[in-house]
Symmetry: C2
Subunit: 356 residues, 2 copies
Amino acid sequence: MANSQQKKKPSKSDQNVVPLIKGRRATSYDVARLAGVSQSAVSRCFKPGSSISGKMRERVMKAAKELEYQPNAIARGLITQRSNLVAVLVSGRLNLYYPEVLFKITEELAKAGLQALLFTVESEEDAESVIEQAWQYQVDAVISASHMSQAQYKVLEKRQIPVVFFNRYFSDHPNTVVYCDPSEQVHEVVKQLKTLGHQKAALITGPEDNMVSRERARMLTQSLDEFGFDIVHEVRGDFTYESGTSALQDIKQSSSVRPTVVMCINDMMAMGCMDEARSVLGWNVPEDLSIVSFDGIGMSQFASYELTTIRQPIGRMSEAAVRMITERVERPDQSHEKRVFEGAVIQGGSIARAPS
Amino acid sequence: MANSQQKKKPSKSDQNVVPLIKGRRATSYDVARLAGVSQSAVSRCFKPGSSISGKMRERVMKAAKELEYQPNAIARGLITQRSNLVAVLVSGRLNLYYPEVLFKITEELAKAGLQALLFTVESEEDAESVIEQAWQYQVDAVISASHMSQAQYKVLEKRQIPVVFFNRYFSDHPNTVVYCDPSEQVHEVVKQLKTLGHQKAALITGPEDNMVSRERARMLTQSLDEFGFDIVHEVRGDFTYESGTSALQDIKQSSSVRPTVVMCINDMMAMGCMDEARSVLGWNVPEDLSIVSFDGIGMSQFASYELTTIRQPIGRMSEAAVRMITERVERPDQSHEKRVFEGAVIQGGSIARAPS
DNA sequence: GTGAAAGCGCTAACAA
DNA sequence: TTGTTAGCGCTTTCAC
């Protein structure tokens, strides 16, 4: 068993050595010896597109199969300066938007022959150490769907590690981004609400330092203004279900005027809000209160919620993110790029004519 | 820019070479040269617990900081035969149980200085290729919360890669496992249902090849028998919300007798079931129909659902899984172990006295 | 098309 | 305590 310590060096002078010590993994030397060829021939066999004769390939592959040989990706990475590892940074928060994104991205990475090295980032300090970790592991690139400060980004930039931001970016610094711009849909929804007779809205936003939240809030405010809405109250949540419930309580308590519609920056909070309205405050949704939100995560369409929400095309965004990654890994001098996708309104059942 | 190709070999004979080519990352040689010490001294400085003098450490660290040096984990892995990478295999994108487990495990791994290499496994063929991938990346261990056949496990075993199964195991083959045994709680809940006057139950199970599902179904059946229940129908789902909805339709259609309680193998299906009952069939839950399930995922306690469910202690299980991993990475000859955690009944609001 | 040899960046035995 | 040296397993010129 504990033979991982053994020093068994297979050198070319070491011709008729014992087969393979059980438990030690076969190297290209082992395969070469068994096949009676040079080690570099073995290497070539496993590199697509190298010039090699048919019978050589056959002999090598036979030996490889026998020894269960698979090239060592770590060693390969050392020499090629390419680890094929991509750091994926997500927030582990209870916002179920992240798992959806994470799984999609991982899948796309796998298709491109890349591995996802997963990092959960909760705070800015986390991001700090995560970036160092990723750097130690020689990741070829970083996909960030979590918080990252500009200073932290600059570290990565200086180290020439391609970074793709997922749904966030720095407006005053060039960077590569996939982004969902829901402004069109926000306009559309607000207009629809106006038509339905709404006029008093409340907002549930996210943390101040979060760009997605800021942007969405800005768009909402702008459209609401445009259509002459009163914003009776604005509460800050933290993207979680729980913060949605307490936000609605807050709205009820602190605003003298009751809103007819609550606009939430993400689905999770909207669900909290909806549940609080129905189960605790006894307000019917959408009859007494309309609710609108963003993301379009899977569970937002469960029959208990059926949110009217502005969906992000997560699948296409993930695909784009990975493509941008691969392009930049191939050609590090590739210029920055921002790919913007439109949102899409999911007409759920959470809005109705304003109560009179 | 595209200077990743440059060959700039820093050898000790290469004393007064240009500073650092911009973009090339600093190696221990660079640090050694700048600090005027040997390369191995640098290496030692970054290995905790090596004997080194204070002023040496200081000098090296100063140079390291200046060059933003961080040891190359890939190169280290090559020589130490330890990548510090752990493959985490999860599946069931649509079952929100997995993200919870995944994030917890990743966090625990990070605490132990290990990195999660994420693999999503949807089918048995996936598992096949994932195992090869993981092997290529020299992962130190595997945590499997997804499907894996015994043959596949044996491959890993033969290669001496420690595997910890999360909530599944092979009964006819030794393996290391964290497991949640809810039998006690199943008994408790069924007894409670009996007390509430229930007698006709339906079961919604998972895929036949899934052990968790089989086990839970077995326990349910056993307890139901014990308390003299009639099992009026049994449907197979696939762990998703949608399959929960259609399962209930199935139950309604195919059983002549209407059950007073539906027992679901996991929360997601229970939520689908509940929504279908309420929104489509117009049955009140729990007044007309009680629902019971397993897992205790976060959203099962949202106000719209408040499932009565048997919770798994995911936090403690993840902790245990990672501990078992680290132990086995340290000492590969460590014997197999099975750590079994009790479930816990969450008394939600999805069960009530049986309708008469 | 194939083999020899150099080295990717690091750790660890061994000497000093 | 420090430096020297030999590789970890692989890719990649460079000859042949």
